[in-house]
């Protein structure tokens, strides 16, 4: 589904990604973990066209999508939910959803899709005219996910969906992502809550210093003592 091959990139002259490589299969959830500064969010930005790529290649369903703009990536069926709050707080739930389809010329189709998406998230339909700022944190995250689904994506890049949410809400968000995976959507997720995220993922990817250190089935990574130690400040080489 998605293949990242030896990608180098960063912000101007500052290089963050040092040859990161991985492949993720269709209809799966892959969680990217790693210490702070490992380049987890940066790799998402590189895939989505928000970052300078100095070298390497990104393939989506076998086609080269390296250096496409975010708009072009959306056109290829990729959506990105950045870290933190991504809503326009003063706009209603409906209008925030509508923003997800702003690049589409056929606005009638967008309105139809909003109805489909709201069927999947009944709480959003219930609050369709309420301002986004008036929703609970979990509902806001649901709204972000719903907006990402508006254009019926093949791949969702979601950065730290659990941030700022209570454990119950985190589980609810994870259940939503699993439901989407079961519907055939591929999900690539960055998550600090590594244990919980790997437990619900199919694959895990450990990044460190902008490189892929480990890439395996999620349950194998969960059982690997090196992963636990990595999060306590060690490096993969030292641990090995």
């Amino acid at each position: 589904m998605l293949e990242v091959k030896e990608v180098y990139g960063g912000y101007g002259k500052v290089v963050i990604l040092n040859g990161v490589s991985f492949k993720i299969p269709q209809a799966s959830i892959t969680t990217v973990i790693g210490p702070n500064g490992a380049g987890k969010s940066t790799v998402f930005k590189a895939i989505f066209g928000l970052l300078d790529i100095h070298a390497g290649q990104i393939l989506l369903e076998g086609k080269d999508v390296t250096r496409l703009t975010p708009r072009e990536m959306i056109g290829r069926g990729v959506t990105y939910v950045p870290q933190g709050r991504n809503l326009v707080p003063q706009l209603s739930v409906y209008h925030n959803l509508e923003l997800g389809g702003i690049t589409v010329k056929d606005q009638a189709m967008v309105r139809d899709r909003i109805e489909v998406v709201m069927d999947q998230f009944p709480a959003l339909r219930q609050h369709r005219d309420r301002k986004a700022i008036e929703l609970s944190g979990g509902q806001q995250k649901q709204l972000e996910v719903a907006r990402a689904l508006l254009l019926d994506p093949k791949l969702i890049l979601i950065d730290e969906p659990s941030i700022g949410l209570s454990p119950n809400l985190v589980q609810e968000v994870f259940r939503t992502l699993m439901r989407l995976r079961d519907q055939g959507v591929t999900i690539l997720m960055v998550e600090q809550n590594a244990k919980a995220a790997l437990a619900m993922s199919d694959y895990g990817l450990v990044l460190e210093l902008g490189q892929t250190r480990m890439h395996d089935r999620a349950e194998k990574l969960l059982a690997d003592p090196r992963v636990g130690r990595l999060f306590l400040g060690g490096h993969i080489e030292e641990i090995q």
């Binding site: 989505f48 708009r71 990105y80 209008h95 702003i102 709480a123």
Partner: protein, 336 residues
């Protein structure tokens, strides 16, 4: 409680605006013209600043460009109906160019870039006297003749005597209503929501596929075109323009209108322009103290309500309106 629809308020407002100058003298008509012209300029800045989040201290210079283009064209015999769209187009293009720095600099730095542009325009107007008349400016611009409605002469309409200034007021009002409708349509459209998305967070707006570069440029260009439209009215209303009429303090006044009225609120600039243009007139009875009182009121307002007069309105509505039934969706804890 029966809720009065918003359109009823707007209709009453329009009727009041139509009746406002009747029976009043020339001075009142000119003050009302001034309020409408500055409202148009402030609504343009509100789009750039309030909706799209791009600060500009150059709105006065776009009024200048619009006013000078209109003056030069109408003085050479072109009808105002032709000169006005050309002035608007000219400002749209210049605004587009001024928007380019906004792609690289933000916040205070962008404010300084636009401030420099305002100063540059005033200097060009002052120094290029072969075209602009230099410090003496341009005068005696004709008021437009719409055949059945000649704004340059007195006449009676439905037995009501109308002076030339009153007729200019009705021209300003007509332009204002059309402009406000267009602006309302824009703000309510997905584009308006895209501008808000840009204001909240450009990176996140980009993640939705919004072309933030194009949006930023458009925000500047449309806002500047509104300044040009206001300038196109200044020219026939005042019939005398000179560079200092559009110096930095005028851009600051327009910014004050946006902030006092409520940045990012549709009706904010109308209220803000009323405070900045009309309130000093009402306070004239206090003679030498009116500027002190006026400044004091603005300071108190900004301290009490940084979101301006519209923010005060929202607070009052929030205090009066019964509170929502608290989170019925969370009866059993956080149910999604």
């Amino acid at each position: 409680m029966a809720i009065i629809p918003k359109w009823a308020f707007i209709l009453v407002g329009i009727v009041l605006l139509v009746l406002a100058p009747i029976g009043q003298g020339n001075y009142v008509a000119l003050i009302l013209c001034s309020w409408l012209m500055y409202t148009i300029a402030a609504m343009g800045l509100n789009l750039t600043l309030g909706y799209a989040g791009q600060i500009s201290l150059a709105q006065g210079s776009f009024m200048a460009i619009g006013a000078y283009i209109t003056a030069l064209l109408t003085l050479s015999g072109v009808h105002w109906l032709v000169a006005m769209p050309l002035a608007v187009l000219g400002c749209f293009i210049v605004g587009l160019l001024v928007g380019f720095p906004a792609l690289r600099v933000k916040g205070h730095f962008l404010a300084f870039v636009t401030l420099a542009f305002n100063t540059l325009v005033v200097l060009v107007l002052r120094n290029e006297d072969w075209l602009t008349g230099g410090s003496y400016g341009k005068s005696n611009m004709p008021r437009p003749d719409f055949w059945l409605f000649n704004t340059g002469t007195k006449s009676t309409f439905l037995s009501i005597p109308l002076s030339s200034n009153q007729k200019m007021y009705y021209l300003c009002l007509a332009v204002f209503i059309v402009f406000a409708l267009l602006m309302y349509g824009l703000i309510r459209s997905p584009w308006g929501r895209a501008f808000k998305g840009l204001r909240e967070n450009p990176i996140r707006a980009e993640s939705l596929g919004l072309d933030t570069r194009r949006l930023t440029l458009l925000a500047f260009a449309i806002g500047s075109a509104a300044g040009g439209l206001a300038g196109a009215l200044v020219s026939p209303v005042v019939q005398y323009i000179e560079p200092n009429s559009f110096a930095l303090q005028h851009s600051l006044r327009i910014l004050l209108m946006v902030v006092v009225g409520g940045s990012g609120f549709f009706f904010g600039p109308m209220l803000g322009a009323a405070v900045v243009i009309l309130l000093p007139e009402f306070l004239r009875f206090t003679e030498g103290y009116y500027l002190i009182i006026y400044s004091g009121l603005v300071i108190v307002l900004m301290v009490y309500s940084p979101s301006g007069l519209m923010g005060v309105g929202s607070r009052i509505v929030a205090a009066v309106r019964p509170k929502r039934v608290a989170r019925t969706d969370m009866k059993e804890g956080a149910q999604l």
